[in-house]
C-alpha cells in the first residue's frame, strides 16, 4: 500500500524509547524527600480544609455540557428518535428496505 510505505516499526520503537527517556528525565528531577502517607500528599488549599473526594471529582455528566447545549437542536430530535421500543426498530427496518427497493427500481428505470 502506498500510504503505508513510510511506516517503519523501528521509528515507532525509537519514538517510544525517546518518550520514556523524557518521562524518566522529568521524574528524576522530582523531590527526593517524597514519602507516602505523610503531610506531603495532602491537598493544600490556602490553609482551608479541601472538599471531600465526592465533591472534587468532576462527574461524567458535567463534561462537554456546553457542547450539548450548543448542539441542542441536533440532539433533541436524535435522542427522541431512540425510543427503545422494539416496534420502532422494525419500522425503521421496513422503511429502509422499502426505500432501498424504490431507489434501485427508480435508478433502473433511468
Amino acid at each position: 500500500m502506498a500510504s503505508l510505505a513510510f511506516w517503519n516499526p523501528i521509528a515507532c520503537i525509537i519514538a517510544f524509547v525517546v518518550l520514556v527517556a523524557i518521562i524518566y528525565l522529568f521524574r528524576s528531577r522530582g523531590q527526593k524527600k517524597y514519602k507516602k502517607g505523610t503531610a506531603q500528599t495532602q491537598i493544600f488549599l490556602s490553609g482551608e480544609k479541601p472538599p471531600d473526594a465526592e465533591q472534587r471529582h468532576i462527574r461524567a455528566h458535567n463534561i462537554y455540557w456546553g457542547f450539548f447545549q450548543a448542539l441542542k437542536r441536533y440532539y433533541d430530535p436524535t435522542i427522541k428518535a431512540h425510543t427503545g421500543i422494539i416496534n420502532d426498530y422494525i419500522i425503521w427496518f421496513i422503511a429502509l428496505a422499502a426505500a432501498i427497493a424504490v431507489i434501485l427500481f427508480i435508478v433502473g428505470l433511468i
Partner: protein, 118 residues
C-alpha cells in the same frame, strides 16, 4: 386437483400473511402479540418456500411404490423444514424471555416494560 386454482393464489396468500405480520409487529405493543406477528411472518415465508416447490405434473420423491413420472427436487421442502425448526427455537427463546420480563417489570407491554432508551 389444483387445476382449478390459479397459480398466483398462494403467492397472494404469502403477501397477505407477510403484510399482516408486519402490521402486527409495528402496531401491537404487547410483546406476546409481537411474537405472534413474528410467528405469522415465519409461516408466510415458509408458505412462500413450499409454493416454490410445486411443479405441475411432478411426482413426490418417495421411492416406495411411486407412480411413473418426473420427480421433483425436494430442496424447498427441506428448506421449509429447517426454517420451521429454527422458528420453533426462536419462538421458545422469545417466550421464555417474555416470562422473565413479566416477572421483572410486571408488564408485557413493549413501552411500559422498557428500561433502556436514548
Amino acid at each position: 386437483m389444483t387445476q382449478g386454482i390459479p397459480f398466483n393464489i398462494p403467492f397472494l396468500a404469502v403477501a397477505v400473511m407477510i403484510g399482516i405480520a408486519f402490521y402486527i409487529i409495528i402496531s401491537q405493543r404487547n410483546l406476546i402479540k409481537l411474537v405472534m406477528g413474528l410467528s405469522i411472518l415465519a409461516s408466510g415465508v415458509n408458505l412462500f418456500l413450499i409454493t416454490l416447490g410445486y411443479r405441475k405434473g411432478g411426482v413426490a420423491p418417495i421411492y416406495t411404490h411411486t407412480p411413473a413420472g418426473i420427480m421433483v427436487l425436494p430442496i424447498p421442502q427441506a428448506l421449509t423444514l429447517t426454517s420451521i425448526v429454527i422458528a420453533v427455537a426462536c419462538l421458545a427463546l422469545m417466550l421464555s424471555m417474555i416470562i422473565h420480563i413479566y416477572r421483572h417489570t410486571g408488564s408485557t407491554d413493549s413501552e411500559k416494560s422498557r428500561i433502556m432508551k436514548g
